[in-house]
């Protein structure tokens, strides 16, 4: 096997934290993922009357209730705070590393869940409390402010809003900050809570499946919306080893591209997707044959899955890699998706178990990949790739390698 020194060979994942539709914490997430459980159920947080779909992957009420209380914080802020705290505790950083850590948050909805309520109540004159705190937390950069303040992170703080590629982009950006020597530690990830505007939007585009989504299935009808927060601690490898930190995985490379094609639709030939994957492989110093698993963007929409499969064929060849979609289990968690799926990919490498594509009964014959239907599969994979794509033709691919290599 030819191995070229990775551009990011010095960046490792040393901590993970997540709040997902499986509940709060890494254990709940991996247990649900490995079992092939689907957490998409009847929506309770938003009014779904008249919508094509009335289901969603919500963080369970009891899990939210168990999160530490945080006055005046949005639902998304609370999820982010819990996931980020878990990741930092998991990494067991020293005080200095923690204080100087960069914070890169991928976000889109911000505190819109509360903002929508405020809007209709206050602006439409249904009631008036005179309180404008909701306006302060509605903006997506409120997450970084909350995390920075509550977790005492004094390094650079960045908020990336790259639609559904935000979570993946935050990881790539954090790794760049370490690689470029700006910081030696970065807390990176994404967060999004369920909102009515999201339901309205994807409903209007007729992209929601009335049943739990079935990525890569012949009879797929669209996506399911979810919510989550997921964070990773990225560290300079030498620093992590020197302090005896645990190395979950190495972040070997990343690739980002834009389609410059259409504001909502991907390029029909998957040009941008291919370029992101090729850039990620190039920066990792790996060839396609060295990737054993792809955690796909895999939304379950007709167009995304078809074009992503086409792009995968162009990079890996027919059937050249095992593929699955975490969105079949926890829905499309929007800005959090890239980081949720990065956590899934890292855990898959660590456990030697590839999470399945839930609800996949009738595989689409035009998608020439083994999409790990319904059951997790043991496989000692050395390197894996995670894809995230977003509105505006934004494409992010990340390559992770097993920690012990």
């Amino acid at each position: 096997m030819t191995r070229i020194a990775s551009r990011m060979s010095g960046v490792v994942v040393s901590g993970l934290g997540i709040v997902s539709p499986f509940g709060a914490g890494l254990k709940a997430f991996w247990t649900g993922l490995a079992a092939g459980t689907c957490a998409i159920r009847a929506a309770t947080l938003v009014e779904t009357d008249g919508f094509r779909s009335r289901i969603a992957a919500e963080v369970p009420g009891e899990a939210m209730a168990a999160l530490p209380a945080a006055r005046h914080r949005s639902r998304a802020d609370r999820m982010a705070l819990a996931a980020a705290s878990e990741a930092l505790a998991d990494a067991d950083l020293g005080a200095c590393e923690r204080e100087a850590a960069a914070l890169v948050v991928g976000a889109v909805g911000g505190g819109m869940y509360e903002g929508e309520s405020w809007y209709w109540r206050e602006v439409r004159g249904e009631a008036s409390s005179g309180r404008t705190r909701a306006l302060r937390s509605i903006l997506p950069f409120a997450h970084a402010e909350t995390l920075g303040f509550r977790l005492r992170l004094h390094g650079p703080k960045e908020t990336l809003v790259m639609a559904c590629a935000s979570g993946g982009a935050s990881i790539a950006m954090g790794a760049d900050l370490i690689h470029d020597g700006a910081v030696s530690t970065a807390l990176v990830g994404g967060v999004d809570a369920l909102t009515r505007i999201c339901f309205m939007g994807f409903n209007s585009l007729r992209l929601l499946d009335p049943e739990p989504c079935r990525p890569f299935a012949r009879d797929r009808r669209g996506m399911s919306i979810g919510e989550a927060a997921a964070f990773l601690v990225l560290e300079d490898a030498e620093q992590c080893r020197a302090r005896g930190g645990r190395i979950y995985a190495r972040l070997l490379g990343s690739g980002m591209s834009t389609d410059a094609h259409h504001v909502t639709a991907p390029h029909p030939e998957g040009e941008g997707m291919v370029r992101a994957m090729e850039l990620a492989l190039e920066s990792a110093g790996l060839g396609p044959s060295e990737i054993g698993y792809v955690n796909a963007h895999g939304t379950g929409t007709l167009q995304n899955d078809r074009i992503e499969a086409l792009a995968l064929r162009r990079v890996f060849g027919d059937g050249g890699v095992l593929v699955s979609s975490t969105k079949s289990q926890v829905g499309h968690t929007m800005a959090a998706a890239g980081s949720v799926e990065a956590v899934a990919t890292v855990l898959a490498l660590q456990h030697g178990l590839l999470p399945p594509t839930a609800n996949l009964v009738n595989p689409d014959p035009e998608i020439p990949f083994d999409c790990l239907a319904r059951e997790a599969r043991p496989a000692a994979v050395a390197a894996a790739l995670s894809n995230s794509f977003g509105f505006g033709g934004q494409n992010v691919s990340l390559v992770f390698g097993r920690g012990e290599l």
Binding site: E122, F141, T159, G201, F202, M256, T258, G390, F391
Partner: protein
Amino acid sequence: MQGPAVRGLGILLAEATTDGEAQPVWSLGRPAPRDERQRRASRECLLGLAAVEAMLDDEGAPREAIAGERTALVYATAGGYAASNRSFIEGSGRSIHFAYTAPAVVPAEVAIQFGITGPYAIFLGGPPATLRAIWHASILLDSGSCDRALVLAVETFEECADLYARGHRLAKRPLVEAAGCLWLEPGRGDLVFESRGASRRRPGHARARGAETFGCEPLVALDQWRRAPAPGPLVLTGVWRGEEARLVWSEAPSAHRRIAGTKPQSTVRMRPGIAVDERQA
């Protein structure tokens, strides 16, 4: 890190007058769409496109000069998508407008219209986010990931003026709409980026903040610096919600200064919330 050179800069700034205290929002209006595709684009998208055109005019460069994989596009905004979110919610969710609720659509429209397919990033926040965007663009140039980098910022306020009025602590000064695009190329000297919690008092820094342009502030300041008779080393400072960021160029970053003969996009009679260090102000 090597400091980038400013090759071109286009600024659109709403005309605001010195009695602007009485008017909370100064609008840039809606640029005329060029084709049917642009007709359905949001106002912030059209302003983004116009800012890029203004930058090309400033440099006297054709559109092809910024097309392709070797051009990076980095976008920054604080509230440039609020209007689209509001109109989508109030319009009960028409599909054609949903995409425009995402801040990402402004640079996406620019990328589509100008054929820009290089590295791409979008930062959210006020002036510090735009300084980060310039820093990120500089890293991309320094690492050879691109040959040129565009930093775009757009801020609109008109459609949500009543909301901003309710959240008066978010915007204590009149809001002046702006859009700007900065063309950076590899330059000389060093560039240093600093970020920290904002100090309440900064002796020695005269910050005459007449109005707010949010994320456009650093680009407006850079434009004013370029118009100085003999601009020297530059320090750009941005403060936003308890955070302060600074970009320090060790040498003047204007490699291709073409100010003479160019016209500002609008007459600025009220000094916007600029962030130029007093040594340059």
